[in-house]
Symmetry: C3
Subunit: 312 residues, 3 copies
């Protein structure tokens, strides 16, 4: 595997292997000096055409724990603002010596397109409404450890709630959860569902409340405030009434059920309860696991021939 562009690139065996590799990365991350020399001399470049401190920092931290060098580009400070083409930008940076590009772009397919212009590995860190594969991997890892499901998600009932239509997180999560055997329901107002769900391995519901008692995982998506301006949402208040996680809804979840969110949360909208008071919240575990999952992905793509157990 040279790139990670989509959860489609991974079969169930790949998913399991990446999640097992993540176990090793969690162990490394828990050491007093959480560093191994595995990727020393490798150059990992973040190329973010959309702002995301959270994801960029997670990849950056992951790369440093593996002793890779890192560089960050954001659109505003790059030559792209001088009218240079995306292709020229990629080829120029690559010519300085790059082993992997971590790419976020508002256009679906941009990371795929970039693979044509460089020999470096491309990791999709979110492209348009399309895919966000490392988010799906960290979500799988969080469920796997949170519910002690090392062998797969057979029989797990997962609801993903919110703006399915515009969410790359939903697309990647649905594929990954289903590939591992989970039963996934997407819950949204009709305006926030894709025109067709043909080929999505999901059920659809508009009624969160009836699902709650049977869920193993409640996954809340972030509400994008701009959807209201587009008249896809009547009001944040009404959204919150129908789909927000209130204390009353939280009380109806099974005691073992996990509450997840990709962040950043809109408190008072999709997250009305205080997540710090929800016994099932693993939202901060998702963040911690995100670093380890990204270490696993970087090592998987760049670490051939090196040994994770090599002394520093």
């Amino acid at each position: 595997m040279r790139h990670l562009l989509s959860i489609d690139d991974l079969d169930a065996d790949d998913l399991h292997r990446l999640l097992e590799l993540t176990d090793h990365m969690m162990e490394i991350s828990s050491r007093p000096i959480p560093k191994v020399p595995a990727l020393r001399g490798k150059n990992v470049v973040s190329l973010f055409f959309e702002d995301s401190t959270r994801t960029r920092t997670s990849f950056d931290t992951a790369a440093k724990r593996l002793s890779a060098d890192t560089m960050n580009f954001s659109v505003s400070s790059s030559s792209v603002s001088k009218g240079e083409s995306l292709r020229d930008t990629i080829e120029t940076i690559a010519a300085m010596g790059v082993d992997a590009f971590v790419v976020r772009h508002r256009s679906s397919g941009a990371p795929q397109m970039i693979t044509r212009w460089t020999n470096a590995s491309i990791i999709n860190a979110g492209d348009g409404w399309h895919q966000h594969p490392t988010q799906a991997l960290l979500d799988c890892y969080t469920i796997r450890t949170g519910l002690n499901r090392r062998d797969g998600f057979d029989g797990l009932r997962i609801a993903i709630v919110g703006d399915i239509k515009h969410s790359r997180v939903a697309r990647s999560d649905v594929q990954a959860f289903a590939a591992l055997g989970a039963h996934v329901t997407v819950v949204a107002p009709p305006t926030l569902l894709p025109p067709s769900l043909d080929g999505w391995p999901v059920e659809v519901s508009h009624d969160l409340d009836s699902l709650l008692p049977d869920l193993d995982v409640l996954y809340l998506l972030r509400v994008q405030r701009e959807r209201m301006e587009e008249a896809l949402l009547p009001s944040l208040h009404e959204y919150s009434l129908l789909y927000g996680l209130t204390d009353a809804r939280a009380a109806r979840l099974a005691p073992h059920a996990l509450v997840m969110h990709p962040g950043p949360m809109n408190r008072g909208v999709e997250m009305v309860a205080d997540p710090g008071e929800l016994s099932g919240s693993v939202i901060l575990n998702q963040v911690t696991n995100g670093v380890a999952v990204r270490m696993a992905v970087l090592f998987w793509l760049l670490g051939s021939g090196t040994d994770l157990t090599e002394a520093p």
Copy 2:
């Protein structure tokens, strides 16, 4: 000690110990390769909600000399601009694995508040009008070495001149200088003094000129131009006439007296003379000492169990 939030957190013994530790850090900084592995694997995150290249760079340099990893966040590029709460931002970054946050914030008390949300050490790098403790430590170190006062400041006469009311530097410096035994006078127009100086271990003067010959240290504060718009200052010119360090005033200082400024200077306002021509100016020493003081603070908070003399 887990945090450094205020000079109040330190008694005179702590101050002396930190200044002695700074001596070691100055020695390390003078080596051909000014680096020790003391904090290898520690992650120091700068979280600056107000811009300050100077202070951020000083901490960054200090952390690198101790072999810590560093990451920088500024408000504009963080999720805070997406409406995420400060608490969620802190908890999210902390979940990636942070040993210390270096925080600058326009609100007094923000660093204190942050200690509730994370187990990481918090270092206050300036909060509102409240405190800037590492500035006070570097100022103490500069006086200690500049006047050869390793045992304390008993009998030293220090004047702090300028906008006392809105200055966190003044608050921290007054406490630290007094704790070490100095006699401190604050000099300002009445509009730039706090409504009450109850509890401040200082004398007040509106007449800089009469103090000059007796001073051991003349400490100039930066004039904030926005104070004029608030009608707290009649004009920069008038301020300069009454409180600016002119060549004439410099000539009336004792030969051994130090001239200090936290930077950046307003030349022609509080600093009329050319500081490069003032024999007593230790303004650039303050900058150099700032790196060593911040190394000492980072090692004090994060270095337990490690040995400064360990080979690289």
Copy 3:
């Protein structure tokens, strides 16, 4: 040599020695772990008063391959925006411990001026219309390897095409190419030539087409779109007709001839053909070589007493 401000600072022997040192740096850059400890503990600060991701990244990568520490300042985030003088900014940063400043500034002569205020080495990374010496060195290295001319450029015919008047690249390249023995022609509309070319070791032409068959190197400069607003260029289309590299013009080049561009390219203006399809294009080699040349310059200025062959 303490600084690199201008190609004037280098005689032909210096140029040859730097290009030979670049050979070593290319070898280091080709290793699986492209790093040597030569500049460990050295602090290299980029100070860019004009935006340039490309050049800044190239220096940054070069410094990291030599194990130097790096810091980046850009105007917008520095105290310069608070009204601090350039001199105070330089002296303050230098006081934190800086071994070299890499400076880009819109004013010709700014890097030279800065040498007065600090003991650090200054490397000019582009000043106004004046000089861009590391660009000239990487261009020389690219020609030297691309045409196998290790002993000099005697008899080579090089045309530099475009906005000679406002180009620091043209000024530095003309000096360096000529010092190595090349025969240089500058090709431009009269409005984009300097008022006088006295002292330039060049011929002038307004007719690119007649030169093409005899060239060993065709060097295209970037068209600055703002020159049209200044009425120095009638239109991009007309520029392209007369001076752009079209497929037809490319077909008239000798088979061995190199096509070069300092980037970023304006496709469809000075570069009409697809550079990926031009057999003589060494534009991406220029980028790759740029890192190695900057490693050589950094080592030349800061590496005295250290040994490139030292084990990591």
